[in-house]
């Protein structure tokens, strides 16, 4: 394997007619990184991937690999391996023929092709399936073949388009770990597209969240979860409560009352959203203390509207004044929780608040 490469999109824009699919995309994927493009369907993530593979042409901007501009390069000269969502295995060829294809196109000597095919099939654990046809394999095996076929050409970059979406839930978890292990072993710069935030969070080194053709935020999974920069990222990554408010002289007024400005967040005057995760909210059957009373939490009166038992925790929908909030409470043995209709106090921890503009 050659040294891992760096992939860069500079000011990339693309539109199909009036339909703008990508808008001023700027992103850098570091050498050896496992990088996820995450977003809902239609956000442009697959288009960006196809742009890197050369199947789409950007109207503006450039794609660079290790500083070399490949924007105008045809797909078959890029040496950028892509695993398709449908796997796209050719049914008229055996597994071995599928895997050998790219090497043959590179006019490698027969013996070298044979050896390489054996190597990569062994790598994905399908050594004894070489003579089968793709139709005779299970979905998981087909995916391994697709991966082996791509890895055989020793691509500079590995692109994975929704690699796990065609597998059932159990296999998906397994393949996720396997993919990650493989990527770590080969050290190849990898970009994968997914709409599943859990998949992105559990595997990627860094994630770019996309929405309506624009990259909303790039960061590590923890970054995105703890410090979303806008409402879209906050809501797309995990579950979150959003409470509208206004900044007033270093504090924030909202339906939760006046809360002191969180220390590490820059604030300008105007409308904001207070964002906090359901599991950071406390519930208590004791009456809410007077505002301004000492203690970490900021309490308001409320009542339980609904509850869902999810095993590890119970998810409540509670009313707190004019607000409806989602609250997750850890479940432990013997804990009966709160029944719908129960009057309770809802405590928000100011230390867990994020302030979002707009």
């Amino acid at each position: 394997m050659t040294a891992p490469v760096r992939v860069e999109a500079r000011q990339v824009s693309l539109a199909f007619g009036a339909n703008v699919v990508l808008r001023d995309i700027d992103v850098v994927v570091e050498p050896g990184e496992f990088f996820a493009l995450l977003g809902p369907s239609g956000c442009g993530k697959s288009t960006l991937l196809r742009l890197i593979a050369g199947f789409n042409r950007a109207q503006k901007g450039a794609i660079l690999i290790d500083g070399e501009d490949i924007t105008q390069l045809v797909p078959w000269k890029r040496n950028v391996g892509m695993v398709f969502q449908s796997y796209a295995l050719w049914p008229h060829m055996t597994v071995a023929q599928n895997v050998a294809f790219g090497l043959e196109e590179r006019r490698q000597p027969r013996a070298a092709v044979r050896a390489k095919v054996e190597d990569v099939l062994a790598l994905v654990g399908l050594g004894e399936y070489a003579t089968r046809r793709p139709g005779q394999l299970s979905g998981g095996q087909q995916q391994r073949v697709a991966l082996a076929r791509t890895l055989a050409i020793e691509p500079r970059v590995l692109l994975l388009d929704e690699p796990l979406s065609n597998l059932d839930a159990k296999l998906r978890h397994h393949m996720r770990r396997e993919l990650l292990a493989m990527q770590r072993k080969l050290g190849i710069t990898t970009i994968f597209v997914t709409h599943d935030q859990e998949e992105a969070m559990t595997t990627a080194d860094r994630i770019a969240v996309m929405h309506q053709g624009v990259i909303q935020q790039v960061g590590t999974p923890i970054d995105l979860y703890d410090r979303p920069v806008n409402r879209f990222v906050a809501e797309f990554v995990g579950t979150i409560n959003l409470v509208p408010g206004r900044t007033v002289a270093g504090a924030i007024d909202s339906a939760l009352g006046r809360i002191a400005r969180p220390p590490d967040q820059p604030l300008s005057d105007g409308p904001v959203q207070l964002a906090f995760r359901p599991h950071t909210v406390a519930l208590s059957s004791a009456p809410a203390p007077e505002p301004g009373a000492p203690g970490a939490h900021h309490w308001v009166d409320g009542s339980v509207l609904e509850r869902e038992f999810l095993g590890e925790f119970v998810r409540y929908r509670v009313s707190a004044g004019a607000l409806e909030l989602i609250v997750d409470q850890q479940h432990t043995l013997g804990d009966a929780g709160y029944a719908p209709g129960t009057r309770i106090s809802v405590g928000v921890d100011p230390g867990q608040l994020r302030v979002l503009h707009g």
Partner: protein, 562 residues
């Protein structure tokens, strides 16, 4: 749980089996038996030796092979570029190409043959013009190549349609993954696109081969007799039904038919590359570059002109008083239509009766077999399906000769008329030969009726018969009608069996009338008029069956079914 056994079900199955055995299996086996039997009933290859010792037979064999293979090749050359254009490029000609796929099929090859003679023959319109302007002529319609030309114009749609479907079903990801791995251009086409479309091509090409190899009408109309099917016909009609050489030819025809079908079947096994994934996309369509557009439209225009020429020729011929040694007819008349409606109204009537009854038998048996196969667990039910489908591989000449031989001494009970000399023989022959078409249509229709719809009827108290009558048949109506129409129109233009089985002119259907008229120069006009009537009938029928199928699909889409 579907019923395994009940008396009515068994009764229906046995009745159908008896019909197929009597009118399909026995005649075919008789033909084969005669070809291999010595006068004492023992096995012999002497008849085959006799066949190959005759130079005319060897020549006929070679000619038939040549014509069939050359037609496959020529059809390929016409169809492959057209198919590739439709799936690969974005342009307005696509609809024209789709029309091209249907137009030739609505006119039987033997009907167009005479008209093509007038247009492209030695002294036809084209050669008169060429000779006048440039001083040379093209021997398009001469001898075997004339047959190849006529058959190609008629049968290339089989390759076009099958190949287009196959190409259309290739997922664009198949191509992109190859590009991603370094392939492009011609290598990409050769290694990925072409192999994936191959099953469609093979299916179409083997059909063309069989159809041409077995054709009797076209060579006869073009006056070529040194081919297998015409020789079989001539031996049987001139030397007699006892002459074994005709039967040897039949065995050869059957062997090639079966081999071509089995060969393409073996090739296709495990290669049904329906590669288009759920939510997948067909190959990307590119815009044509200007020079490509010129080539494409040029090719389409040329093929369209050729494809329309038999239709146009027959139409002109039917209105022409004199058309000989001239580019276009020199005088016009409606007399041919008057002749046809006067003298041949009997033939038109016969066609409606024979084909109507045959189609009725076909959809009845088709629906019954579909029910037996899909809705019961009667042991051996698949056999009925297989048996009925055998007819697909049986050349008309073979069935015709088989009927003449098998039923030569059979009288219809209570009438004293020989079966082979009655109108009933046409109904039987047509129904057996066209049964596979109706059967496939009925099968497809019944497969789309979900069993839960029947179970709901039975849950509410309907008996099995009541369920069939009130739920299944109404839901299948579109498919049954489409099957009826297909059987009817293909039987109406059937010529091989027809020529063999017509014992008196008063029994002859239209197709025989066309053939008979076309034999003489004077008869060409009325023949063409009759041809026009049959083309209009077939075109209308084709339109109807498309409508039935389309409305059925719309119906299913409305109910949210794929």
């Amino acid at each position: 749980m579907p019923p395994r056994f009940s008396w009515p079900i068994l009764g229906v199955a046995l009745l159908i089996a008896a019909f197929l055995v009597a009118f399909l299996i026995v005649p075919v086996l008789t033909v084969i038996w005669v070809a291999f039997a010595d006068p004492d009933g023992g096995f012999t290859l002497a008849h085959f030796a006799g066949f190959f010792s005759l130079s005319l037979m060897r020549e006929s064999f070679a000619n038939s092979l040549y014509v069939a293979l050359a037609t496959v090749l020529a059809s390929t050359l016409v169809a492959v570029p057209l198919a590739y254009l439709t799936v690969r490029f974005q342009f307005r000609g696509a609809i024209v190409i789709q029309t091209l796929g249907v137009l030739p099929l609505i006119m039987p090859a033997f009907v167009g043959a005479a008209a093509l003679q007038l247009l492209f023959g030695r002294s036809g319109s084209l050669n008169l013009i060429l000779d006048d302007w440039f001083g040379f002529t093209l021997p398009i319609m001469q001898g075997l190549n004339g047959i190849v030309f006529v058959e190609t114009l008629h049968y290339f749609p089989f390759i076009l349609l099958n190949l287009s479907v196959a190409l259309n079903n290739i997922d664009v990801a198949m191509e992109e993954s190859a590009q991603n791995l370094g392939a492009h251009g011609w290598r990409l086409f050769r290694r990925i696109v072409f192999p994936l479309a191959m099953p469609g091509y093979v299916a179409g090409a083997s059909l063309v081969f069989i159809k041409v190899f077995d054709d009797l009408g076209t060579p006869l109309v073009l006056n070529v007799t040194n081919m297998l099917a015409p020789q079989a016909y001539l031996r049987v009609t001139s030397i007699g039904i006892e002459d074994p050489i005709g039967f040897v030819i039949c065995v050869i025809l059957v062997a090639f038919s079966v081999a071509a079908m089995a060969g393409s079947g073996a090739f296709l096994r495990g290669r049904e590359f329906a590669t288009l994934q759920r939510g997948g996309q067909s190959l990307l369509r590119r815009r044509l570059a200007p020079w490509q557009a010129v080539l494409a439209y040029g090719w389409i225009g040329l093929v369209l002109a050729l494809v329309l020429s038999p239709h146009l020729g027959v139409l002109l011929l039917s209105f022409s008083r004199v058309w000989s040694y001239s580019v276009l007819p020199e005088a016009w008349t409606l007399a041919h239509y008057a002749t046809v409606f006067g003298d041949s109204s009997r033939m038109i009537w016969n066609t409606f009766v024979y084909c109507g009854l045959a189609a009725l038998i076909d959809v009845s048996i088709g629906t019954a077999i579909a029910y037996l196969v899909l809705r019961t667990r009667l042991p051996g039910r698949q056999l009925l399906d297989h048996m009925a489908t055998v007819a697909l591989a049986m050349p008309g000449v073979v069935l015709g000769i088989g009927y003449l031989r098998t039923f030569r001494n059979v009288e219809i009970p209570l009438t004293g008329t020989a079966l082979t000399a009655s109108w009933l023989i046409f109904v039987l022959a047509y129904s057996v030969r066209r049964l596979p078409y109706a059967l496939r249509s009925c099968m497809a229709a019944m497969q789309q009726v979900h069993t839960s719809l029947e179970e709901a009827a039975q849950n509410l108290g309907a008996s099995r018969a009541g369920t069939i009558r009130r739920v299944i048949v109404p839901l299948m109506a579109g498919g049954i009608l489409a099957g009826f129409v297909t059987s009817f129109i293909t039987a109406a233009v059937e010529i091989s069996e027809t020529i063999l089985l017509t014992s008196r002119e008063s029994l002859a259907p239209m197709s025989y009338g066309i053939y008979l008229y076309m034999q003489s120069i004077a008869g060409r006009g009325p023949g063409a008029a009759l041809g026009v009537i049959s083309v209009v009938m077939v075109a209308f029928g084709t339109y109807l069956s498309h409508r039935f199928v389309a409305s059925r699909e719309a119906h299913h889409i409305a109910r949210g079914k794929p």
